[in-house]
């Protein structure tokens, strides 16, 4: 199944890097980009999004706050919070919200594993 992935990061370079890995792993998937939490919410309201990757440290609302807001809109949306700041409090909060924590810089291998599991969960939720 082709998926639409939302990439949220205030760094254009970080978004480009994830988009490059996505194109290499799943050439048939599409992606959307957002530079902050407000842009991300606007994208989710406008488009059908299947997965989202959220940077943690962003100006305005951080990735954990955004994750909670996205879960309130779509509880079955698979989310990953991405950060080099893997302090246990941040990982725990991500898990409490129902998001996966991925370490930055994001390698293609880690991204591939996350996408595979998240896409399966999304498909299973769609069939329920």
């Amino acid at each position: 199944m082709s998926c639409t992935v939302l990439i949220v990061d205030d760094s254009k370079l970080a978004r480009m890097s994830v988009a490059k890995s996505l194109r290499s792993l799943h050439p048939d998937w599409t992606h959307l980009e957002a530079a902050n939490a407000d842009d991300a919410l606007a994208q989710v309201r406008k488009h059908k999004v299947d997965l989202a990757l959220l940077d943690f440290n962003m100006p305005g609302r951080d990735g954990l706050t955004l994750a909670a807001e996205l879960k309130a809109i779509d509880p079955s949306l698979p989310l990953a919070v991405v950060s080099a700041n893997h302090q246990e409090e941040i990982i725990r909060k991500a898990q409490e919200i129902g998001a996966v924590f991925l370490a930055k810089p994001l390698t293609e291998k880690v991204l591939a594993e996350y996408l595979s599991g998240a896409a399966s969960r999304r498909n299973a939720a769609a069939k329920e």
Binding site: L13, N57, I90
Partner: protein, 212 residues
């Protein structure tokens, strides 16, 4: 004032901010391990400004009675990095990293050494991450403890001019449970910025291929 804008492109500035973000995030992890409490970080502020403006920015923040752990770095890029916090928080930081069981007189005696070691770990963690991502070696000086006003910490060195363009960045950190807060600041001079531009170009190409 010299025009700073053409020195780095928008994408190069973005890449630099992201590098600093990664570096400081690793540094926060090191500090978190030392104090046993969550360390909160702000988004980095990065600007290409004159030396005089950088000092002005620092003066506009909390300006007096500060302690700084200062380390110079050199290699393909060179500059100065500092961990700065109010003097009133210095003993609390030492108390946090020493486990909080020592009597006050021992903490006071250990202050200088503990600050130097804490600053060394945090600044090295940050700079080493940046150097590794740029695939370059940086040689770091030994940590030095400075006390006074923020403007003095980055006072102009011999031969430097007030309108020299420098890369200035800072990021706030706080350990909420311990009432510890401060910031990391970094200054890099112009010859380094030219070298940095080249290194950032290589980093961008490794990360995303040749940008359009």
């Amino acid at each position: 004032m010299k025009d700073a804008a053409p020195i780095l492109s928008e994408l190069e500035l973005d890449a630099l901010t992201e590098l600093v973000n990664l570096g400081v995030s690793r540094a926060a992890l090191s500090l978190r391990e030392m104090v046993g409490e969550q360390v909160l970080l702000s988004v980095p502020t990065l600007a290409l400004v004159s030396s005089a403006q950088a000092i002005e920015i620092l003066k506009e923040r909390e300006d007096r009675d500060l302690v700084a752990v200062h380390q110079a770095f050199e290699g393909d890029i060179a500059g100065r990095a500092m961990l700065i916090f109010p003097m009133t928080k210095s003993l609390e930081l030492v108390r946090a990293v020493t486990g909080g069981e020592l009597p006050l007189e021992d903490i006071i005696e250990l202050e200088q050494e503990a600050l130097a070691e804490t600053g060394n770990i945090i600044l090295n963690s940050c700079l080493a991450t940046i150097a590794n991502l740029l695939r370059r070696n940086l040689k770091m000086s030994l940590p030095e403890i400075l006390r006074g006003e923020s403007g003095d910490f980055f006072a102009l060195g011999p031969g430097s001019q007030a309108d020299d363009i420098v890369m200035f960045l800072y990021i706030d950190f706080a350990v909420r449970e311990r009432d510890i807060r401060g910031y990391i600041a970094m200054l890099m001079d112009m010859p380094s910025l030219t070298a940095l531009k080249e290194l950032l170009g290589d980093f961008i190409e490794r990360t995303v291929g040749t940008p359009n």
